[in-house]
């Protein structure tokens, strides 16, 4: 019998049991959709994160001091050890383009033109070059020691009247103080500019560490000398630092890293007093930091895909089950076909074709559903949808495999049915 004829006959019998076939297929649809959706979302997430690293960011080294045995992402186990003097010292090294502290200042609200918005994420305090020229849509970087700020698009647009360069914002900090800031620049993107911030889009306000961090730092950040330190310039301690290499070249980055760490761990720096034997300085590029994050994401994704794959297995069991029922139900038909000359392989082919059709339909519909779900998810968390085309081919292959695996035994049972018994079967 010709393969096309098998498919035609099998399709006929699938259509003869629409509801049953539909429900059977649903198992595979859900399984494939779940796998595809999670894989595509994971790929989109990774692409979204990696896509955020601009060439400029690639020469930035993000650093903190922590116990070398501490596991985790950026800033895990970090201690307040770096002073502004340290940053100045690192900046002066030949191998270093710039170095500055990084901190977030707890804030409560932002007022512009009489309108007040809550500012949950706080203020980001950093050096001027933290705001890269390429990421500015308008204006310029802030200057150290000035009451200036650069805000991102989301901050500018959250007020009824858009904030523009030259306007003034009033910020209410968590410690109760109020700061009046002059907007000197607005960034293009609303996503974070470094791994310290995270990557989600949110209203952000960037300010120079001097004077804001110096003034607003509290607790351990205020330095050991307590009140004395506040009076003195450079008394506040940084948890996180950014060191810029001259270029994004890996060799340059490595020399910069080595020089900065050598300086910070030498007696010249204030930080060395805190470092002792317990703490070590870590300096990593966003790519290196993200690699860790990606590893974690990948692990999580594998786990979820594993769970989704279980539903695919359940789906194939569903097909196997329904094919067994179908074989029993159609014993007489099998008998008729054999009586009129159907070979065992013809009968095997018919039933196998049926389960393969169910598997392929399930896989194709599941792929469509999975991509739709991934697209929806990517849209919701604002990521570019990455959908490798080979998934379609893969899905069809999975459908065929599922169909063959689940249909083989039932089809074999059908094929070896004795025509004499089958014709007598009621």
């Amino acid at each position: 019998m010709r393969p096309l004829e098998s498919l035609r006959l099998s399709w006929r019998s699938i259509r003869g049991h629409r509801l049953r076939s539909g429900l059977t297929t649903l198992g595979v649809i859900i399984g494939v959709a779940a796998v595809i959706a999670f894989v595509a979302l994971g790929a989109s997430l990774q692409a979204g994160i990696i896509g955020d690293i601009s060439p400029d960011d690639q020469r930035n080294l993000y650093g903190w001091a922590a116990d070398p045995d501490t596991e985790g992402g950026p800033l895990a186990g970090a201690q307040f050890v770096f002073t502004q003097d340290d940053m100045d010292g690192v900046s002066e090294l030949d191998e270093v383009e710039a170095a500055y502290g990084y901190a977030t200042i707890e804030a409560q609200s932002v007022t512009y033109g009489g309108e007040t918005q809550l500012q949950g994420d706080g203020l980001v305090a950093a050096g001027p070059s933290y705001i890269r020229d390429t990421s500015l849509a308008d204006g310029r970087q802030f200057e150290m020691g000035a009451n200036e700020t650069v805000i991102n698009a989301a901050t500018a647009e959250q007020f009824e009247e858009n904030v523009s360069v030259g306007d003034e914002l009033e910020v209410q900090t968590a410690t109760g103080g109020a700061e009046t800031l002059t907007v000197v620049g607005i960034t293009e993107t609303s996503e974070g500019l470094s791994p310290f911030e995270g990557f989600e889009a949110a209203p952000r306000i960037y300010v120079p560490t001097d004077p804001f961090y110096e003034r607003q730092a509290v607790g351990p950040a205020a330095g050991q000398d307590g009140e004395d330190a506040e009076a003195e310039d450079g008394g506040a301690l940084f948890l996180a630092i950014v060191v810029e290499a001259p270029t994004a070249d890996q060799d340059d980055i490595d020399t910069t890293r080595d020089a900065a760490i050598a300086y910070l761990e030498s007696d010249e720096s204030d930080a060395s007093a805190f470092l002792g034997d317990d703490l070590a300085v870590t300096l990593q590029t966003s790519t290196e930091l993200l690699q860790q994050l990606e590893d974690v994401l990948g692990l999580l994704q594998n786990f979820i895909v594993g769970i989704a794959a279980i539903s695919l297995v359940v789906g194939s069991i569903g097909i196997a089950n329904i094919m067994l029922v179908s074989v029993t139900e159609r014993t007489r038909e099998i008998g008729i076909m054999k009586a009129v000359g159907a070979q065992n392989r013809d009968v095997l082919g018919l039933f196998l074709a049926e389960s393969v059709i169910l598997g392929v339909i399930g896989a194709v519909l599941g792929t469509i559903l999975g991509v739709a779900a991934a697209a929806l998810g990517a849209w919701y968390i604002d990521l570019p949808l990455v959908y490798p085309l080979e998934y379609v081919a893969l899905a069809i292959a999975v459908g065929i495999i599922v169909g063959v695996a689940s249909g083989l035994y039932p089809a074999w049972r059908a094929a070896r049915t004795d025509p004499i018994d089958a014709l007598r079967y009621e």
Binding site: M1, R2, E5, L9, R12, S13, G16, R332, E333, G335, I336, M337, K338, A339, V340, G341, A342, Q343, N344, D346, P419, I420, L423
Partner: protein, 260 residues
């Protein structure tokens, strides 16, 4: 023993089933069914009718003896070859019609050709022509459930003939039909017989069997007697012909080797 003029030749055929005690369903049967003949097989339950039919229909193999269908000795064939012989040399007509419920009349008739790899266009032409011949030219696209019992049996007959078999084997073909339809179907059988089709009808109804040229009476797995009919619905039985006589002058070489 075997002559090319025979559609079926059975020589000393035995079939033993082992269900606890060995049961001799057929116990030394020799029978020839010439091409173009019309044979009825009668006998009470358990006489071996079904076993005989399964053997002639190439559904089963004998325990001993030889069965030739369309010139092939089925006891020497493997399952696959036997299926091929069955598909090409035997046409089945069943009591319960046994049509494929989801296929149209045309597709049902064409089904045996599907398994022989005949092209679609050829199948449609051949099956369409046969449906015309059985008077169902206007019912080609009907499903079995949309047809009456008589119509279904005519579809089944058309299907049995589609591969131009050596013989058509009908098992109680009128068992599920009312008297009127029964007559119609039997008339159709006769029509095809006159056109040269070899017919074997298994029945327990005398008036169905009497349409044939001869009646083979089975009893306890042996041929009790073979009754020659003059045709034309003559109900007279000929008690003496079973043994020895061999119907002197009868063309259809009725063979019955005295094995008992």
């Amino acid at each position: 023993m075997e002559s090319p003029a025979d559609a079926v030749t059975m020589v000393d055929v035995r079939k033993t089933y082992h269900v606890g005690e060995p049961v001799h369903a057929l116990d030394g049967v020799s029978l020839s069914i010439p091409r173009g003949s019309y044979t009825a097989i009668m006998g009470p339950s358990g006489s071996g009718k079904s076993t005989l039919m399964n053997l002639v229909g190439c559904l089963d193999t004998p325990t001993a003896g030889s069965v030739s269908v369309g010139g092939s000795d089925i006891s020497t064939l493997d399952e696959r070859e036997r299926t091929t012989v069955r598909g090409t040399e035997v046409g089945f007509v069943f009591q319960t019609f046994n049509l494929m419920p989801r296929l149209t009349a045309l597709e049902n008739v064409a089904l045996p050709q599907l398994f022989q790899g005949v092209s679609r266009a050829e199948r449609i032409e051949r099956a369409g022509g046969l449906l015309e011949r059985v008077g169902l030219g206007d019912r080609k696209d009907h499903l079995p459930k949309e047809l009456s019992g008589g119509q279904r049996q005519r579809v089944a007959l058309a299907r049995a003939l589609v591969n131009d078999p050596a013989l058509v084997l009908a098992d109680e073909p009128t068992g599920n039909l009312d008297t009127e339809t029964e007559a119609e179907v039997l008339d159709l059988f006769e029509e095809f017989h006159e056109a040269g089709t070899t017919l074997v009808v298994v029945t327990h109804e005398r008036h169905v069997a009497e349409r044939a040229d001869r009646i083979v009476h089975l009893l306890d797995g042996e041929i009790e007697r073979i009754e020659q009919l003059d045709g034309a619905g003559e109900p007279e039985s000929e008690p003496g012909t079973a043994d020895g006589d061999q119907g002197a002058g009868d063309e259809p070489a009725t063979e019955q080797d005295g094995d008992r």
